[in-house]
């Protein structure tokens, strides 16, 4: 199996450990990821708050490069995934827009590239079979609150991924590697997203709600597939504790990091040490 790979800015910077773990895991599962050449920013939040054309044109240029290679693309960052899906939908529904955008990017994009998030790669029987075969570390007592956030499932008519209110696909992957995901209430709540720059108090409150719900449900860690969610939940935990008088000490993992751990990769190779909230206490001797 072979996909074009769009890491986006996060996986080359603050979420480098997501990239490290993903590359290791995908190699184990015989999924070939080819990082696309000369990629540019997906547009993220700033583009669509400033212009109607820019948030379509930026993904379109990336997608046009991929279309030429004849591959479908995997975008592990939830924001990139969402922007790609949205651009594809808009281009497919509006021929005039397609023409304008193609003029802007000076390429001919027909909007035929299928966009997958990283979880969707696991919705393949072959991949899951290999995964179950290769799991060699029992993730005993790892009880993640599996957190999807907002961008993977919403708006449902754009992403068309899983159940927008009660998604299950990442939970199933966690079960497959022997973890025990908890039933909880805040799977798709907002973490505050990029408001962390402008109004950090909003993020502190929303992220605290999520941490609280996870703790109440008996989780001992949170698993995510979004770099921004990870940053807010991991990096802001100490501020949240200080502001609200809490004592959270909840490790936040990218889901591929836990998969990597179950496949026997080391803490170092999975970038587990890059987190603000340490996971040594939880993972202990499970991971080398």
């Amino acid at each position: 199996m072979k996909y074009a790979y769009f890491p986006g800015c996060s996986l080359h910077s603050m979420a480098e450990e997501y990239n490290m773990a993903t590359e290791l895991v995908m190699e184990d599962l015989n999924v070939e990821l080819r990082e696309i050449p000369d990629w540019n920013c997906c547009g993220s939040t700033p583009a669509h708050t400033t212009s109607h054309l820019l948030p379509v044109a930026l993904p379109a240029r990336n997608l046009a490069i991929i279309e030429k290679e004849g591959l479908d693309v995997v975008a592990p960052c939830a924001a990139c995934y969402n922007r790609f899906k949205a651009a594809n939908k808009e281009l497919n529904e509006d021929d005039d827009l397609k023409e304008t955008v193609n003029e802007i990017i000076e390429m001919d994009y027909q909007a035929n590239v299928e966009v997958l998030n990283l979880i969707e790669v696991f919705q393949n029987d072959d991949v899951m079979e290999i995964l179950e075969e290769k799991v060699n570390v029992e993730l005993k007592n790892i009880k993640p609150a599996v957190y999807y956030g907002c961008l993977l499932t919403r708006p449902p008519e754009v992403t068309e991924f899983d159940d927008a209110e009660n998604p299950q696909s990442m939970d199933q992957i966690m079960e497959a590697i022997g973890a025990e995901p908890v039933e909880w209430t805040h799977k798709v709540e907002c973490c505050g997203g990029s408001l962390v720059m402008a109004r950090s108090e909003v993020v502190l409150k929303l992220s605290r709600d999520i941490l609280k719900a996870a703790k109440q449900a008996g989780a001992n860690c949170i698993v995510t597939a979004c770099p921004l969610c990870h940053a807010n939940l991991d990096m802001r935990q100490e501020q949240i504790n200080k502001k609200f008088g809490d004592d959270f000490n909840m490790p936040i993992f990218y889901f591929t990091q836990l998969i990597g751990a179950a496949l026997g990769h080391s803490k170092k190779n999975l970038g587990l040490k890059r987190h603000f909230i340490g996971s040594e206490g939880l993972l202990g001797s499970l991971v080398g």
Binding site: P156, E157, D163, E165, N166, T185, E189, A213, Q216
Partner: protein, 658 residues
């Protein structure tokens, strides 16, 4: 000699605004077979009709073309005009200039040109029009009502009171329907069962009503005025004649199953009557949950019954009933709120629907009328209502407004405060309280009973400790709100029953995209259907509250009485007819007929001095609905649809195309 008169209608500005009516009548007047032509502002008005009558006499006209609107509404009007002038009404031909020309075009010149073609067509058709006489049929003076909720009960009583026999068929073991489940009714807060039960008793005791409960209509044959219904009486396992309703059986039954009538909140026995006021007061055995049927042992009810009425071997039986008219009143169902995963209806016991709350508040309900939480039996201090669950949501539910939820929620909030001193918050989209006394009721709910109305949708409901957390939006303040509450009540949408489509097909009634049965005309024929002799009452036609249901039921009954009190009815003469001398006996018309009106027959004729018997077909005039499928399928041109004969259609084609 044909003398055709053409009357072009302006329809105010509807036609005259786009079509040059002056030019049109002038051009048509030049046609050789047109003896007279004119135009008039409102031809359907009384002076308009008088003008036609006068022209018929003055110009000795014997075929009439009215170029106006769709024949659907006014063909009957102008047929009467012709009859009033002594002409056979079927010598009228209409040209539809409004729906098929002026309303859909803007270019006056082209629209006028098209109008001329359309009227030419009608004139050429009129050239071949022949006088037709309707045949008559006898009428069975009885009616059948399907469904015995408040709609069916009202229709049945009206029919029976008019002196006609009525057959009532109810699927459940008792009459009463949804209204029997309700605690109070808005806006008067009448006790629902108190106003319904007397009517239920009337239905069972009325000398003109024959009641089948635990029964369904399997088949409806025949045609308007002369239907035969095949009714399946489902095995009750109790002999209705013998049972005296003493109650020993259900008191002693050792099995206990969730009570469907109480929305599963309480239990009932396996042999049961659904509720204390059930009519008839004859129990039924729920065979899926009865020990005798599960293990072959037990049989306590049979042993204890003083009348030997319990019959484990009873089987479904079938009866046929002859009737002249049918009123369909099969009711509605409620939307399944698990389709909103964010409300977590299936995860928390204290998230319930409005109908659950009705049962909880009801004195004969599972909590004897005390408001308690299903989870721990504690009295809630605060209840949160969520409106439009499945209504006005084309993504997850139905696009339509269910029409009753705003009022039943206001009723719940009022009653909780007034009788139990429980506070409530209501998340709503718009409050629709537009009928008599409704707005006043809603005002009292907010002002006097202090319900906290929040305009906005709820994004999530979940449990925290023994509380429920409701997160939503207050769009008036533009703020997110989070409420702590003890119980959540979802105002679930009214929707068609799961078997509504099957029922509609059995009755020959059409249905809309939501499977509500369709009336013949949304404004002017609201209780009739496109199946002659079949009428609609209540929520099977669309969501409605009790007053509207009762009004419609009485309307349907009146229409049915109108039909079955006649000694005979006229059949529409626009039906198919086979010229057996041309029929080749290929029988292609038989399988294509949707009404099974064409049958094979042997004809005997003289051919070259020999008597020859061969196959041909015959059309049953009562069954034929005049769709014309047979005449289109006929290879030898033997099958002709009266009023749309082959020569008429060819003349029309020629007039338009040549």
């Amino acid at each position: 000699m044909k003398r055709i008169g053409v009357f072009v209608c302006w329809c105010g500005s509807n036609i005259a605004g786009t079509v040059d009516v002056e030019k049109l009548s002038e051009e048509i007047g030049k046609m050789p077979n047109v003896a007279y032509s004119c135009n008039y502002k409102y031809t359907c008005s009384e002076p308009g009709q008088e003008m036609i009558k006068d022209a018929i006499k003055e110009h000795n006209l014997n075929r009439i073309v009215v170029a106006a609107c769709s024949p659907r509404m006014h063909e009957p009007t102008f047929r009467k005009t012709l009859a009033g002038a002594g002409l056979n009404p079927y010598l009228l031909v209409m040209a539809n200039l409004r729906e098929q020309c002026s309303w859909v075009h803007h270019d006056e010149e082209k629209a006028t040109e098209k109008s001329i073609a359309l009227v030419r067509r009608a004139v050429q058709k009129a050239e071949f029009a022949v006088p037709l006489e309707p045949t008559t049929d006898s009428v069975t003076g009885r009616a059948m009502v399907v469904g015995a909720g408040i709609a069916g009960i009202q229709a049945a009583l009206d029919l029976a009171d008019s002196g006609h026999e009525v057959v009532v068929v109810e699927k459940e073991p008792t009459v009463g329907g949804r209204m029997a489940q309700l605690d109070k009714t808005f806006p008067t807060l009448d006790c629902s069962i108190c106003i319904l039960a007397p009517k239920m008793v009337d239905v069972s005791g009325h000398p003109n009503i024959k009641l089948y409960t635990n029964a369904e209509v399997d088949k409806l044959d025949g045609y308007v005025g002369n239907f035969t219904a095949t009714i399946r009486k489902k095995a009750r396992s109790v002999d209705e004649e013998e049972c005296i309703g003493c109650g020993i059986c259900w008191e002693k039954c050792p099995n206990s199953v969730p009570n469907k009538f109480d929305m599963g909140l309480g239990d009932r026995s396996a042999i049961y009557i659904p509720f204390p006021q059930a009519v008839p007061s004859v129990p039924v055995i729920d065979r899926d949950n009865c020990r005798y049927y599960e293990t072959g042992k037990c049989g306590i009810c049979q042993k204890l019954c003083p009348k030997d009425a319990v019959d484990f071997e009873q089987e479904d039986t079938f009866v046929e009933e002859e009737i002249g008219a049918v009123v369909v009143a099969t009711g509605y169902d409620l939307y399944d709120p698990t389709r909103y995963p964010e409300y977590n209806y299936d995860k928390y016991e204290d998230i319930i629907t409005g109908l659950h709350l009705e049962r909880i508040m009801n004195a004969s309900g599972p909590t004897d009328g005390k408001v308690k939480r299903p989870s721990d039996g504690k009295k809630p201090e605060h209840v949160t209502f969520i409106q439009c669950v499945g209504s006005r949501d084309s993504q997850k539910g139905h696009e339509y407004c269910s029409g009753v939820c705003c009022m039943y929620t206001a009723k719940h909030a009022t009653y909780l405060k007034e009788h139990y001193d429980i506070d409530s918050s209501v998340f709503y989209m718009d409050v629709r309280a537009f009928k008599k006394g409704y707005e006043e009721f809603y005002r009292r709910t907010t002002d006097q009973f202090e319900a906290d109305y929040l305009r906005g949708r709820v994004s999530r409901v979940y449990g925290e400790g023994d509380k429920l957390i409701v997160k939503g939006e207050d769009s008036m303040l533009g703020e997110q709100v989070t409420l702590e509450t003890d119980m959540v009540v979802l105002a679930t949408a009214v929707e068609a029953k799961p078997d509504a489509r099957k029922v509609a097909q059995t009755m020959g009634v059409s249905y809309d995209e939501s499977f509500f049965m369709t009336e013949a005309h949304p404004k002017l024929r609201p209780v009739e259907t496109n199946a002659a002799g079949v009428f609609l009452a209540g929520a099977c036609q669309g969501p409605k509250d009790i007053p509207e249901t009762v009004a419609q039921a009485s309307g349907a009954a009146a229409k049915a009485i109108n039909l079955i009190s006649k000694d005979e009815i006229e059949n529409d003469p626009l039906i198919a007819n086979c010229d057996t001398s041309r029929c080749s006996g290929c029988l292609r018309c038989i399988p294509v007929c949707p009404y099974s009106a064409v049958t094979e027959e042997e004809v005997t004729e003289w051919n070259h001095g020999e008597e020859v018997t061969r196959t041909a077909v015959n059309v049953n005039e009562s069954l034929c609905a005049g769709c014309g499928t047979c005449s289109a399928a006929c290879r030898s041109g033997a099958m002709n649809l009266r009023g749309f004969s082959n020569e008429q259609i060819l003349a029309e084609v020629e007039a338009i195309c040549l």
